[in-house]
Symmetry: C2
Subunit: 285 residues, 2 copies
Amino acid sequence: MFFLTPVLVAVVCILILWIFKAADRSPEKKKGEPQTQPWVHEDLKDSSDLHQVEEDGDEWQESEEHVEHIPFSHTRYPEEEMVKRAQEFYELLSKRRSVRFISNEQVPMEVIDNVIKTAGTAPSGAHTEPWTFVVVTDPDMKHQIREIIEEEEKINYMKRMGARWVTDLRKLRTSWIKQYLDTAPVLILIFKQVHGFAANGKKKIHYYNEISVSIACGILLAALQNAGLVTVTTTPLNCGPRLRVLLGRPSHEKLLVLLPVGYPSKEATVPDLRRKTLDQIMVKV
Amino acid sequence: MFFLTPVLVAVVCILILWIFKAADRSPEKKKGEPQTQPWVHEDLKDSSDLHQVEEDGDEWQESEEHVEHIPFSHTRYPEEEMVKRAQEFYELLSKRRSVRFISNEQVPMEVIDNVIKTAGTAPSGAHTEPWTFVVVTDPDMKHQIREIIEEEEKINYMKRMGARWVTDLRKLRTSWIKQYLDTAPVLILIFKQVHGFAANGKKKIHYYNEISVSIACGILLAALQNAGLVTVTTTPLNCGPRLRVLLGRPSHEKLLVLLPVGYPSKEATVPDLRRKTLDQIMVKV
C-alpha cells in the first residue's frame, strides 16, 4: 500500500506540470506526425498568414479622417505600344545584376533623390508609407558601417552559420570583406517602421510593413537600373541594431536592406548565373 | 511550527514550477519595464533581425556547384541623360495608384507574360528565385477565388478585427465586397516558396523568401504601370491556404499578394491621398 509521502506528492506534481507544459507545445509536434490524408489536409491547417494582423490587432488605432474619392486619371497606350513598352522594360530590367565591384566615382545626387522619390510611390498597407531611406555619402560614416558589418559578418561566417552556410555562399564568392562599403559613393540603408505614432502619441501599428518596404525596394532597384547605376541587395545579418544606433534612427525603425550604389568598377565581374524561364515561374489557370 | 504536509509540498512545487515557467518568458516581459537609459540601450538588445537565419540554419543544404564569374557588361548613360531618365521614371511611377474599379475588358496576354518575366529578374537570397506567379483568367476560377476571399474578409471585418479596424479601413472605402475579382480580366496570385528541394530531395531553405518575393512584386508593379495597366495590391487575410488548395499549389508555397490586373473602369475613383515628401522619407548623412 502506498502512502502520500511529501516526496511522492512532489514527484506527482512535477509530472503533472510537465504534462501540461508538453501539451502546450503539441500543435508543433503534430506537424512531424505522418498524415493519414494527402497534403490538402495539412494545407488547410496552415495558418502562416493568420498571425501578423491578429497579434497586432488590439493596438490598431482609430482612423484619422474620412478620405474623399476623386476620379482616377489614366494614361492608356494603344495595344501595340503596350506590348512594345512591356518588352522594352523587360529587356532593361533583365540586364540588372547584383554587382559587388563598385567604382569610387561620384554619382549625380539628383539621380539619387529621384530614385528614392520613385521608391516612395510604392503602395503600403493602409497607406502608412512605413519607410525611411538613409543616404550615406560621408566617407567616415561609410567606413564605420563597413567595420560593423565586417565584424558581424566574420562572426556569422566563422561561427554562427557552420560549414554548410559558408560552402553555399562560396559559389557566389562573397565573404566578410565588403570593400564596396568604402568605395561605393552612396550607401542607401532602407529601414522599415514597424509602427508609427497617431496624433495622440499612441503607437499606430504598420500592417505588412516588411512587405510594403520590400515592394518599395523593388521599385528602387528598377529605378536604379533605369538610371544606369548598379547595386547589390544586402541584408546585413545581425547588424541592424548597431547600424541603427550609429545612424541615430529610432527604435521603431528596423534595418531591412542596405544598397551600395554607384557605377560598376572597370574590372567588375558577376557570377555566371541563369534565371528561371517563364514557364518555371508562371502557372496559367 | 510548519509540517511538510503533502498539500504544502504540492503548493510549493507548483509555485516553483510556475516561477521557472515565468522565467522563460522574462525577456519579453522586460520590454515593458521602464528603461533607466535612453533608447540606445534598448536598441542594442533588439534582435529582430537575428531569428530568421538562425532558426533555419540547421536545415541549410550543401551548395550545388561553384559558379564561374564573368565580366559584367554595363550600359552607362551621360550624366544629363541619367538625370532625365530618373526624372521621367519618377513621373511615370508617381501616377501609379491602387485602383479598385477594374474594367472587364481583356488585356494582351503578351503584356502579362512580359511583366511576369520582368518580375522574375528580381534579386533573391542566394539566387533561390522563390516565387510562383499564378495567372488566373478563367471566369469560374476567378469567381471561386472571389467567394473564398469575400467569405473570409466578411468574417475579418465583422468579428476578428473589431470596430477599430473596420473604422480605419473605411476611409479607403474598402469592404468585403471585391467585385474586381470577377471583373478584372487577369488575377495574378504571387506565392512565396518558403523552401525548395535540393537534388537529393531534401528541403532547401529559401532565406529571406518574403523580402525577395516582395521585391519581385515591386518590380511587377512598376512593369504594370509602365505598360498602362492598373492593379491594387492586396494581401487576402486568412485566405492563403484555401486559395492555395484551390489552385493546386504545394504546401511549401504561401500566398503573399493577389493582384487583380486590367484597365480602370470608366467611373474609377481613388482616395484623395497625398504621398510623403522626399524630406519625410529620406535622411542624408
